[in-house]
């Protein structure tokens, strides 16, 4: 029996929550089964991610990172959804989805190198099933669909997940991906982090649909809308979608309603398009404090734990950025040689211009 209610909705739907902002379980039916160690691990990752985001914003301001899209506020969607997957599953991220990559196995220093525009940042280690972050909004949705087709053809019980935002759900690629996944019954999860804005454009200008989850209907796949500030709702929805995918029951579209506490990127000023009141209202739903309340009541977490993880994370980020900075700078001739398996003569000649 499905823990998650799926229906064809013709009316506005509430985002499903499991954990209230006060840290109470309000939806036993959807509660994922997790051991105490797993609960602590999830919290560890969320606090770690928040700390790393704080640091990354500073590193960006110091010019030690390149393009960086802040993630604070989205720890439940990012950490929770990855946690619900298996190592063999394939993660196809947008530019903001670096935490999923790192928790799925990409070394942090490589994420930093990617941000700095060093090609080694994208050299994903063997056995880590992730793509590099996608800049073209929506492209990764089609890649995940194709990877899922591969799993299906090879009869492997693996799942691909594509991440995008509410803005991404407007791209043509999104609809084409969903439609294919429906037609071919592919083991893929489309995970939309609806944080309310695409750069400056509010959700109300992105779509007139009652929800993004509704868009699953037309593609003939499952759609669900969940509370993206609630890590249990995220884990539950992804676990179930993954299980269905592995059983050959096809694709799921998950809309997780969340918020980014910071601006879109380091060069964006969020005060131009949203209000302080709105930001405060959302900070009251902070996924980390909500989860902490739950864990504290169970005696699994204390403020000291948070402080300890923050220190650990800071030290780790420090080490990894230093490691990234030590990687030798790319060269134009190395770049030229990375264009083809065998560098053609005309490119060999071009190296001479860069000595």
């Amino acid at each position: 029996m499905s823990k998650v209610p799926y229906e064809v909705y013709t009316e506005e739907v509430e985002a499903l929550s499991v954990l209230s902002p006060e840290g109470e379980i309000v939806n036993e039916k959807m509660m994922p089964k997790l051991t105490d160690d797993q609960l602590k691990e999830i919290m560890y990752r969320m606090v770690f991610t928040r700390t790393w985001d704080d640091r990354a914003v500073n590193l960006g301001r110091q010019g030690r990172l390149g393009f960086y899209a802040p993630v604070s506020g989205q720890e439940a969607t990012m950490v929770g959804s990855e946690f619900a997957l298996q190592k063999e599953d394939f993660v196809c991220p947008g530019y903001r989805d670096i935490p999923q990559l790192v928790w799925h196995g990409l070394p942090l220093y490589q994420a930093f190198l990617y941000s700095r525009g060093h090609q080694h940042g994208g050299q994903i280690p063997e056995g880590v099933n992730v793509l590099m972050p996608q800049i073209i909004i929506g492209a990764q949705i089609l890649h995940a669909m194709g990877i899922a087709m591969g799993f299906k053809l090879k009869k492997q019980k693996q799942v691909a997940i594509a991440y995008t935002g509410d803005g991404g759900s407007s791209e043509g690629d999104f609809y084409e991906g969903l439609n294919y996944a429906g037609v071919f019954k592919l083991p893929v999860i489309f995970f939309v982090q609806n944080n309310g804005y695409a750069i400056t454009t509010p959700f109300s200008k992105q779509t007139a649909a009652l929800s993004i989850a509704h868009k699953a209907v037309a593609a003939g796949i499952r759609g669900i809308k969940i509370d993206g500030m609630d890590v249990f709702a995220v884990i539950s929805a992804v676990q179930e979608a993954a299980e269905r995918a592995r059983n050959g029951e096809g694709a799921t579209l998950i809309e997780a309603v969340t918020y980014r506490f910071r601006p879109h990127s380091l060069s964006d000023d969020a005060s131009k398009y949203r209000t302080k009141e709105e930001e405060t209202q959302w900070s009251e739903k902070d996924p980390i404090s909500r989860f902490a309340k739950y864990l504290e009541k169970k005696g699994l977490w204390t403020e000291e734990d948070t402080a300890r993880v923050r220190e650990e994370a800071k030290a780790k980020v420090n080490d990894e950025i230093k490691k990234a900075e030590k990687v030798e700078k790319m060269t134009i001739s190395g770049l030229i040689d990375s264009m083809f398996e065998t560098t053609p003569k005309y490119l060999e000649e071009q190296k001479a211009d860069f000595l």
Binding site: F67, E171, I199, K205, I332
Partner: protein
Amino acid sequence: MAQMNMKEAIRDAMRVELERDPNVLIFGEDVGNVGGVFRVTEGLQKEFGEDRVMDTPLAESAIGGMAVGLGIQGFRPIAEIQFIGFIFEALDQMLIQAARMRYRSGGRYTSPIVFRTPFGGGVKAAELHTDSLEGLIAQTPGIKVVVPSNPYDAKGLLIASIRDNDPVFFMEHLNLYHAFRAEVPEGEYTVELGKANIVREGSDVTIISYGMTVHTATKAADELEKSGIKAEIIDLRTLNPLDIDTIVNSIKKTNRAIVVQEAQKSAGIAAEVIAQINERAILHLEAPVLRVAGPDTVYPFAQIEESWLPTPARIITAVNKVMEF
């Protein structure tokens, strides 16, 4: 006359045209409320309303296709594609639908559209934000390609583009938005499309450039002058149609030329310019025409773009080569 940077000049061109012609519309991602990621359209929605300056959902093919439909309806859309790398999502609409409309409908419909987009390297932007894709567009029949290098031209060329009855791809170099201010006349004026500009007169060698490379070439020419070489610099301003007459006339005087572009070397604008020089002026040449361009690699965002992009030093080397040939 007002002092404006290129961003302000572009905004002013749009304001002038929004005011003059009720059929002019602006739309794209984030262009309304806050005026786009570079604030180029800042204030225009406030001034002209949400029906004239519209935020669209995030979907470039729809931005391009809506422009085509509005063009058929007699509007003059200015459609912003947020960054150059995202035009690929819209290329069917830009290159197949808009650029062929006049031909396919036997002139019944046209595409009086301006597709505006920022591009250009050297600003440490993210991947796919800076590539020079002008060659790709310029090869398509039916669409004009414009690349201004300064505020005065930017305003005049943009007004001319908005008034043009065919689609124009208007490329704004990121490094030039705030680079410097210059005198820009108030109100309307146009700079004719398809006309190059001689920005510096010289007698020894012609340097053909456009956009940011005009400024790189100027730096090189200052250096070259010290060693007694007088370079003439041509700013193409429009890549399609190409003002080959200005180029040929200059070569008749200097007998030597190089072409500078930020785009990758092969099969691009520089190659086209040289082919046309060969067709029309080969007997006036004392040396082969050389290209200074990016190498034929993926554009290496951030990490080594400084050495990848044309530098004054590489221009000087190329000039010395043609001088000594």
